[in-house]
Symmetry: C2
Subunit: 278 residues, 2 copies
């Protein structure tokens, strides 16, 4: 495995990198962002950030303002792209923004034509993590995960399936119950097929119902988020956590919407919360 440095920008007391590499999992060239603070004494605690629909590795990197606090705390922050890219990678036939390119939903697709490239679960959980541990000062024993919207769904489901590999999990405005919302039903139906049993390992609420556990979860949700009722459904996560006795700190933020202005407002809280647990 090898990575190429696409860009390196000094930011606060550290460097914001963008790397590219040939992904054997996804069968295409992929980019990911990594913020690396100065003066790390060996492999460092790391937060893996998963972005939402339409995003690349750039949105979080440019807009969230995470570098200031990551630098202070000595945390590496990884931010992959949200889908495979490039020639030969199929997209939504209608060009919709909620499926296909920019919308990998962090699943391993089983249905043609998606199963050839759309294996974002394995990419994030295995290939990217191994690459980061091999090439960057990432401590494999101290990795937390967070994300926004579709990426919040990714963070919750990945952590619930592998709590031993992620010591902390949080999310901003996550898609909490994709089996019950239009975005999730479209994505899971196309990537995984009509059998809803196959969807359960990609649905945070279903995972909790089926016995998955994490020590605790932090979620921020804006109350003026236009996707709140139809797509995000935090009340379902609240119910599932309660039934599973998983402590959930669900912070409902008045006035906040679904944008990166919302993420930027609370990223410091999340990074400090992860740092305490990593």
């Amino acid at each position: 495995m090898s990575i190429i440095t696409e860009s390196a920008n000094r930011c606060f007391s550290g460097t914001q990198y963008v790397y590219s590499h040939d992904s054997s999992t996804l069968g295409c060239r992929m980019r990911f962002a990594a913020y690396v603070p100065d003066r790390l004494e060996g492999p460092a605690p790391t937060v893996l950030w998963l972005s939402g629909l339409t995003c690349t590795e750039e949105n979080f990197t440019a807009k969230a303002g995470a570098q200031r606090v990551a630098s202070e705390l000595g945390i590496v922050v990884l931010a992959p792209d949200t889908s495979p890219r490039g020639e030969g990678v199929p997209d939504d036939p209608d060009g919709a923004w909620d499926f296909g390119l920019g919308a990998g939903f962090y699943v391993d697709a089983t249905e043609a034509p998606w199963s050839g490239h759309y294996l974002m679960r394995t990419y994030v959980e295995q290939e990217l993590r191994q690459l980061a541990v091999a090439e960057l000062p990432v401590d494999d024993a101290r990795v937390g995960i967070s994300g926004h919207s579709m990426g919040g769904h990714g963070a919750l489901t990945i952590a619930l399936r592998s709590p031993e590999r992620f010591r902390s999990v949080s999310a901003f405005a996550p898609i909490c119950a994709p089996s019950f919302c239009p975005w999730g039903q479209k994505a899971l139906g196309h990537y995984l097929g009509a059998d809803r049993a196959a969807w359960r390992e990609y649905d945070a609420c279903a995972l909790l119902e089926d016995g998955a556990r994490v020590p605790e979860i932090l979620v921020d949700q804006g109350l003026e988020d236009g996707f709140l009722g139809e797509q995000l459904m935090p009340e379902r996560l609240e119910d599932a956590c309660k039934a599973a006795r998983v402590p959930l700190e669900l912070r409902r933020q008045p006035g906040h919407d679904h944008s990166y202005f919302f993420v930027a407002s609370f990223i410091e809280d999340h990074l400090r919360w992860h740092a305490e647990r990593l």
Copy 2:
């Protein structure tokens, strides 16, 4: 005068607005961003931010992370677009990014065809300011000015021409001596014509030579900035300030480049510096 709210996003303890209005000065519809903290007790100290080449009102707003500190300090931050826009507004005939659209250079053009729309000096100094004072909680007696690159040039020249109207001035990687660099020579030559005497009121160093004064100036400059030697020339500003006995704090920042990762790293220092003086 009236303004239309194009967007309003809650961010930290305040709201990030984008407004639009019909500009009588520029003869086109213009957008500008305004961050307004909560709980202001009347008109507030305000920092006017001028962006660099290719930018709109969005770049600074999305990438600089200014809202956190502006919210804490109770400062309004205004960020206009960098040129007139729209049908009938002429652009660089070759479509270059360093002139025309996105590159108004904060001058009042006197040469055809630019003089019909490219009056960014009057727009920023008069129309936008009057609009902001009339429509937003902006205290006309407590306005500071800052900017990046072409916008740093704008901030320095505007403050030097009207020190009584701007109580503080700072800049990030400003074009310090446009009469001597390719960007400036192209812009001033086209907008103002070949007579270099007309350029002097749009050149910070020439203004200082000609007697303009401000109480003090704060400048940050990245030492890995690819435009440093050919376009920015901070050493000329240093010499001009020294000769004029204007205190200049020129902070040379190792490792930093020309990007918004650089601006984000030091915007807190600048906003606190302005707040102390407003």
